[in-house]
Assembly symmetry: C2
Homo-oligomer: 338 residues x 2
């Protein structure tokens, strides 16, 4: 009474199971008499036959699944990435298995173990640690994978990253165009590659545009968080630095700046402009709405999925990495210097 099997279809159509298999699989359908094929397909339809990918997988050693390793789905960064991935996997007949690592190496290891035992054909890894022995080991073991948001260090693995440097330049140029000349940077933690890249890009952009390249105009936040961002700005302010605009390492840090504005009675953008980075949801609801650099998260996910699918199809192919262009979303937190 349960769901019909291939054999049921074959019997009902009066052919052998193997023939039915060939007729039902688009890839092998050519090997079979067109009329027979049609008949088999019709019978399958009538019986409501649904192929069992588990059985197929057992035979072909392909599970049709891939693993998505992320720190925490609850972080607004990841849902669009996951969505982008799924949108590509689905039409390709693949399904994604998500695991959350909470940035705990131990958990990450066991979760990846789980994925591998589930026979995933590849991994999309979006966790943040810079040095990553586990991934190196996996790569050595021949596990197909793609890295997201982070260029791997020392491992020869394809990666999809936003073009952070170009994004920072966009932000600085916008501020310069507005007339700002002394621009500060509240950088993200320098233990993260993103933090380093953006800080470096900031200085480069400042120089490119011929603005004042003063190292005292950069403060570093200890974490990618609002509190750390607020602390960073406070340091700059208490230091007596003069500046009329801030490029924040990311949106959370920018939010921290907002807190300081509030606490010290600074009006934004009249006295101080700020640009964030990421374009998290609901930034347009802030007062003032935050100008920020938007990362195409969904495309990043989609591109990662494409790369992985390619790598699965042809593991020998040279690893290729992609850096995606960013865009500036101008809202209310930036204006000409007052």
């Amino acid at each position: 009474m349960s769901t019909p099997t291939l054999r049921d279809v074959a019997e009902a159509a009066g052919v052998h199971a193997a023939t039915a298999s060939r007729a039902l699989n688009p890839a092998t359908r050519g090997l079979v008499n067109a009329k027979t094929a049609r008949r088999v397909m019709k019978v399958a339809e009538q019986l409501g036959y649904r192929p069992n990918p588990i059985a197929r997988g057992l035979k072909t050693a392909k599970s049709g699944t891939i693993g998505l390793v992320i720190p925490d789905l609850t972080n607004p960064l990841f849902p669009p990435i996951v969505r982008g991935i799924e949108d590509i996997l689905e039409p390709a007949g693949y399904s994604g298995l998500i695991v959350n690592t909470d940035n705990d190496p131990h958990r990450e290891q066991s979760q990846i173990e789980r994925l591998r035992s589930r026979q995933v054909e590849g991994l999309i890894v979006a966790t943040a640690r810079v040095h990553h022995p586990l991934l190196e080991r996996l790569h050595d073991e021949g596990v197909v994978m793609v890295m997201v948001n982070r260029r791997p260090e020392g491992v020869d693995v394809p990666s999809i990253t936003p073009d952070d440097a170009a994004g920072i330049e966009l932000a600085v140029r916008h501020l310069a165009d507005l007339g700002h000349t002394r621009i500060a940077h509240v950088a993200g933690p320098q233990s993260t590659s993103t933090g380093v890249t953006r800080a470096r890009a900031f200085r480069a952009a400042i120089r490119t545009l011929g603005l004042e390249d003063d190292p005292r105009l950069t403060a570093t936040a200890a974490y990618w968080s609002e509190d750390a961002g607020a602390d960073g700005l406070r340091v700059l302010l208490d230091d007596g630095q003069e500046f009329t605009a801030i490029v924040a390492g990311n949106d959370l840090i920018a939010l921290g700046c907002y807190d300081v504005f509030h606490e010290r009675g600074i009006t934004c953008p009249d006295e101080l402009s700020v640009v964030g980075f990421n374009d998290m949801p609901f930034l347009d609801k802030l007062r003032p709405p935050l100008t920020t650099v938007a990362i195409p998260h969904q495309q990043i996910g989609a591109e990662a999925a494409r790369l992985l699918l390619d790598a699965i199809a042809d593991p020998a192919r040279a690893t290729r990495s992609v850096s995606l262009p960013l865009s500036l979303v101008v809202r209310g937190s930036t204006a000409r210097p007052g």
Copy 2:
């Protein structure tokens, strides 16, 4: 050179594959000599044996996967729910397969089809449509499922819902305690069960607290969106109604109210207090930070997963539904009437 199989372990341990199987499975380990079992387990460990759930699934007709049907992962409502689900599934040895339906019935049907062909053992459905013939059919076919966020209509399926009525009462009572007597409601669309439930609960709470129960103090938003919310409030205002506080149908609608405040120069909370519903991320970053009713999304997901696991374990068990308590998060958008 690929991953070792059960047979490899058995050979290395000098036992039959069947014995190795029994030794490795905690449930059947008792059937085997403790010493043999230990030996097998040690060998398995050494070889880095990882059981292949696909093969097991083929035999036992259990895939160890369950399907999560949601409209769109990108909607901030869902990630915490998914996270809550995964947190329960994982220790139980299950994995979740997520599909996005975009609220398109056609897509939903094909996605569920996909899930079923992947042999999921059950479904957690979080899509919104009220009348849902597809789900009824599935239920009739014996597909085990649990509904999230919505009490099913006409189908005998377990569900997990937030206790909306209690949440609304929390909001109204808070406002009443602050001294408000004329409280308005910008309700959500009355085509959704949530919209109806909350609107009804609002009137009930007003009466319970002995406040002015004036039907003209309720406006309805056509959608769960900021624009619709703004329109709702404008209607109330243009109507010349007198009120000092608003209970919004959800946070987005409350955000729409903020827009109207801005556009008409109304100061919040001095002239008008607002309470939202949902506690979306970053509401604390608004000016003023929004007071709202928090839904325990993660617990809802967790509870749904538990219910589903129970139902899988014992399909005969009576369907039980759960309504989870909400809490009020008081922030800056509510104050005594000015």
